[in-house]
Subunit: 425 residues, 2 copies
């Protein structure tokens, strides 16, 4: 399951043509993750269009990155109608996402070549907005991909394998503690305003918790049945820091949360799960800044990372339990192993593996990796890629957590608001 | 604060005369903890009476332990009226406690020498019973002591010192994970029936959680303001094991909980606290079976133990933070230290330190350790000893946790039902 895509070259096919929104040569997430990932699968993906705020910016990106086949755009309408694109990647800030993607769907109605949309998590500021995006994608008829890329982390996949093969027996308890980024006392002065604002939906809960809990559900193969959340804004003002992380003696008020307490039960096995997500640059002295402890009747799994962002950190996986036999049944011998890829670049690698999964699906070179025709969500499958449906499931959980906090209640997790058909038709 | 009692001998005084209920030479908690502790302070405490189910049992204990000054009893009425007793220690099972202690108060009304009552936590099966015990103690007029002995653990006291001296700055988050004893898959076949029964009030919540959360409140100097609890009975049948911990191929149903998820906020600083208490013999492979992580703005404290019973385990305390200066202000230098007493017997030692505190109070040999006249609870004081009032505070918290679970609500912690005067008059 952890092997690289088998379709590094596919004879007789053209690469998928990629239109990119949010790629800049100098700054942002895409240049650090999507772009180097795409370079590694250049026989399968080729950037053919770049949309930025104005033509100059688009041209500058194309020039600096030597995207010789890419056409620059400044207008979303023309970009959406451009037929030399199969896959559009949208890597922009969540608060701006809805408007852009709505325009994209609106103007691309007649564009048959545009068949894939790859968007950054969280596709919306809240459940309602994500639902609307999902609805529009369904109406448009398009295959969606969302960057819940933690699912592609080799550590996560290995943990999932070990769990699914019964190597730790029945899971009976889980604890997670994470400390995440600039959601605490300090924030770089260049951070955009929306990161201070709870309403923007880009915060400790949506990001650190959202990604991590998606990973947990994916590893365990179970959604949550009941949850309680308690959300804190104990640090109402953040100190601003400069490029060298030096305090600037300035403060800025925030409404965004700096701590989430979450506890709940997994549907499968009624497993108690305890989580503490804390804002702040990593500082813990006696424990890693990300710890996911999964305990079972026959063993334990521990995932550790240096920062509370499991989806883009290099991790270490510790496993103790029953050794899987060749035939994937477990033997009674106990084994202990540590998995760590010292040079694994998780920022690029996890995104790369999503692109590989898209290629596997599109080129159908490997029959064993072929997705079913009605593939609308990854769910708990090893293969495939997370879709807007998977994103809605996480949004649905976050929404219950928020309601649990405001209502001061332990709440059941309702079924996510998903059409049976799904958006991927 | 960690020093041994200063009153190892007090010239011109007689030792406190101890009447013991629940001491047996062969089995039980008292012979492992109270008795060796009393031997270490024999110039201050002398067992003068033993009450057991019949005279033979009382005599046998006296004989085997060579308690030359002790008189055997089989009748609680006569025992309660015996004037050669200052302190009565009650170390019996919680379900039997109420009846015995009610009789004790009833029949000892005219017995002026009986002035101290030292009872095992939890003094009642639930808040209501503990309240009634507290009320009876108030009516009787007696100084109470309860074995919330974790407060006397040298690791706990050192942690409390470091916190109170600001060595880790302001506490901003706490995580606790513990795995405790025979509340999980297995239980010794000799265990009494009440341990399978949730109603007995002796279980994972009252014991592992009760002691640990009392310790946490004591270290931080703060009670909880709001809590959520989720209680699990995921293991409805326990496997019975023999004396050598071998499975006997027999099962016994239980209603007692095997997991508690608890999260809440400390009053002081609105600190988020996340706890996961799991039943089961210690098995975790990649983490200690007791971990208390206390994070502050200037450092961290970690308490670790091999089993989830902080009050009677030998621990290790890790501290990283600001070095306290001689004058107990903190300097800016960062320091890291590990506290561990390799040969510390915590089962005896923590109880011993309660007896030492009683002696300090009674003999008043050390003016700096003199308790105020209106001393009715230890609260967060370094000196003194935990009383029934402190026990009620913990019961009050446990009661909210139970209600939170049943009502599926995040609940405020009400003021504990304590008379202003307290029971210790």
């Amino acid at each position: 399951m952890n092997k690289r895509s088998s379709v590094s070259t596919v004879p007789g096919t053209s690469p998928l043509r990629v239109g990119f929104i949010g790629l800049s040569a100098n700054k942002g997430w895409a240049i650090k993750s999507h772009y180097p990932a795409l370079l590694q699968v250049s026989s399968q993906f080729q950037i053919t269009a770049v949309l930025d705020v104005d033509l100059e910016a688009s041209k500058a990106t194309i020039e600096k990155l030597k995207l010789v086949r890419a056409k620059p755009f400044e207008d979303v309408k023309q970009f959406a109608q451009y037929e030399n694109v199969d896959l559009i990647v949208v890597s922009i800030n969540v608060p701006n996402f809805y408007k852009v993607v709505a325009d994209l769907f609106k103007y691309s109605q007649g564009n048959a070549s545009f068949r894939y949309l790859f968007a950054e998590w969280s596709i919306g500021r809240n459940l309602q907005e994500a639902q609307e995006v999902y609805r529009l994608a369904s109406l448009r008829g398009i295959r969606t991909i969302v960057s819940l890329q933690g699912r592609k982390s080799p550590y996560v996949l290995r943990a999932k394998e070990l769990v699914s093969q019964g190597c730790i027996g029945e899971i009976n308890s889980i604890e997670i503690a994470a400390i995440g980024g600039f959601y605490g006392y300090e924030r770089p002065y260049k951070s955009p305003d929306y990161l201070y604002d709870a309403e923007s939906g880009v915060n400790l809960v949506s990001q650190a918790f959202g990604h991590t809990i998606d990973i947990l559900q994916y590893i365990t193969g179970s959604y949550f049945s009941e949850v309680n959340g308690m959300i804190f804004n104990n640090i109402p003002k953040q100190r601003l820091i400069d490029e060298r992380n030096k305090s600037m003696d300035q403060e800025k008020p925030k409404s965004a949360p700096d701590h989430l307490l979450f506890q709940g039960t997994l549907e499968t096995g009624n497993v108690p799960v305890s989580c503490s997500f804390k804002g702040g640059t990593p500082v813990k002295k006696f424990t890693k800044n990300l710890v996911i402890d999964i305990h079972g009747t026959k063993g334990d799994l521990k995932l550790e990372g240096d920062a509370g962002f499991a989806e883009m950190s290099n991790l270490v996986l510790y496993f103790c339990g029953q050794k899987p036999d060749e035939d994937h049944s477990t033997s009674s011998a106990e084994t202990m192993e540590v998995y760590h890829l010292r040079n694994y670049n998780s920022i690029v690698g996890n995104i790369l593996r999503i692109y590989e999964a898209i290629a596997d699906h599109h080129f159908k070179a490997n029959p064993s990796r072929k997705l079913p025709d009605d593939f609308s969500k990854q769910g708990f499958e090893f293969g495939g890629f997370p879709t807007f449906t998977d994103a809605l499931v996480v949004h649905n959980l976050i929404d219950v957590v928020l309601r649990s906090h405001y209502q001061k209640a332990t709440l059941p997790v309702p079924k996510p608001p998903i059409d049976d058909d799904g958006p991927d038709t």
